[in-house]
């Protein structure tokens, strides 16, 4: 009944390929966070603007991103847009799907963080002659980032793990894609996926530790 023979050598020989894949994974995750944070700041400003159209747009984004599966979001970026003649590469559609998801979660994270900053901060800034946008950018936003930073690292870890969903749109250069292809050729399923899991774990851990170091350095006050 239990007659599976472990052959680690074959899997370990493929380690360089898998590590190349891990780099692609990290690259997508970092890019998706960069885009996600930027868009989330915009969505947050839209929601604060009091403009109904902008606010509605931001709310719709957050609702969709948080209440539909990430898999569906990536699928839509690839095949959904494909139906309208917009053909994105697997890399781009995976990046777009994760960035969309990140932006939604981060916008909600920023909204919570804003509640922790007293209105009097913006008021004090305005009383020094700063226009509202400047007061937000120089006084409110930096404090918001501090409150939101550690929760945002969770999203970064989540982004790393979400990259594995790329296999459904034919992504074959990231860690999950490379592993999948190696598995298809060798059927050493357990070995390859165990090693991939360890690599995912190590990347996620490294990112969390790095984030704590950055937070310690950046938020001295």
């Amino acid at each position: 009944m239990f007659n599976y023979n472990f052959r680690w050598n074959q899997a370990l020989n493929a380690l360089p390929q898998m590590l190349d894949g891990a780099l692609v994974t990290l690259q997508i995750a970092l890019l998706s966070m960069l885009i996600g944070v930027t868009v989330a700041v915009l969505l947050t400003m839209f929601r604060l603007s009091g403009n109904r159209i902008l606010g509605g747009f931001a709310t719709a984004w957050v609702e969709l991103a948080r209440n539909t599966p990430a898999l569906f979001q990536i699928y839509m970026a690839h095949f959904g847009l494909g139906a309208f003649g917009i053909h994105l590469s697997p890399f781009t559609s995976l990046l777009a799907g994760i960035a969309f998801n990140n932006a939604g979660y981060l916008a909600e994270n920023f909204r919570g963080a804003l509640k922790a900053i007293p209105d009097t901060q913006a008021r004090a800034a305005r009383s020094l002659g700063m226009p509202a946008t400047q007061a937000f950018r120089l006084i409110v936003m930096p404090q918001m980032f501090r409150v939101a930073f550690l929760p945002a690292t969770n999203q970064m870890v989540w982004a790393i793990l979400m990259t594995s969903l790329g296999v459904i749109v034919g992504m074959n250069t990231d860690l999950a894609g490379v592993t999948q292809e190696l598995n298809a050729r060798s059927f050493r399923t357990f070995e390859f996926f165990a090693i991939a899991a360890v690599i995912y774990y190590l990347i996620a851990k490294a990112v969390t530790l790095a984030a704590h170091a950055v937070a310690w350095r950046m938020f001295r006050y």
């Binding site: 007293p118 009097t120 901060q121 008021r123 004090a124 800034a125 305005r126 009383s127 020094l128 002659g129 700063m130 226009p131 400047q134 120089l138 006084i139 930096p142 404090q143 501090r146 938020f219 001295r220 006050y221």
Partner: protein, 240 residues
């Protein structure tokens, strides 16, 4: 000159300012006293346009604060305000707190903004705290920093909203000393305060607010020496 003409202001159904008329001349030190909820703090935030008014006019050197076309951001450069809760910017050092607005609002070069900030911070006795974050300062020090921050914009007017009310008693003195210094230097000031001794000492005139009305206004000797209204008599006997 600050001219306040028949200003009315409500929060919901509560009318906090019931037709205030008041003129403050250049160089004058006016203190405003009165119980809580008398409208005195609201008046200050109306003067720099942080709060809208319902009717009446406030003129600052002839510019109507609440008129549609008024550039409030520009106007606020002339009017410094310091709040009861000092509102230090926690993510900036003491020096950065003070030099931020001169740099970003007035557009001064960094070196010049820094020189102004150092001068103002030294002026309020914080010359040795430039590089620390506000969280390392006592309440009194943070409040003096907030005063330096407002002064760094070289305002023509300063508004002080109960700046010692949130401080421990032993820290009140250092902040009041800073205000005294400013008064001596000829700064035009409106100070909302509960410090009667201070009001008596530094003011050119003292205004007594009661339930949204300016019940009395007179030089301190007269106002404290011979209060005319029963409300002020009651207020003064309660605070002593």
């Amino acid at each position: 000159m600050i001219e306040i003409q028949n200003v009315r202001k409500s929060f919901g159904s509560l009318e906090v300012l019931k037709g205030i008329d008041l003129t403050v001349q250049k160089g004058e030190v006016l203190t405003v006293i009165g119980g809580s909820g008398s409208g005195k703090s609201t008046l200050l935030t109306c003067i720099n346009g942080l709060e809208p008014i319902d009717s009446g006019r406030i003129l600052l050197d002839g510019t109507e604060v609440h008129a549609k076309g008024t550039d409030l951001n520009k106007l606020r450069r002339k009017v410094g305000i310091v709040f009861q809760q000092w509102n230090a910017f926690p993510h900036l050092t003491v020096l950065e707190n003070v030099m931020l607005a001169p740099r970003k609002v007035l557009g001064l070069p960094k070196a010049e903004a820094e020189a102004i900030a150092v001068k103002q911070l030294t002026h309020v006795g914080l010359g040795d705290k430039l590089k620390v974050y506000p969280s390392r300062l006592s309440g009194g020090q943070q409040q003096r920093m907030a005063i330096a921050r407002a002064l760094a914009m070289s305002p023509d007017y300063m508004l002080f909203d109960e700046v010692t009310s949130a401080l421990d008693p032993q820290l009140v003195g250092e902040v009041l000393d800073t205000l005294r210094l400013l008064a001596q230097e000829g700064m035009t000031m409106i100070c909302v305060t509960h410090e009667m001794k201070f009001a008596r000492e530094v003011s050119d005139r003292v205004a007594f607010f009661h339930k949204g009305v300016m019940a009395e206004i007179a030089p301190p000797a007269e106002l404290f020496g011979a209060p005319r209204t029963p409300e002020l008599q009651t207020f003064l006997s309660a605070t002593h």
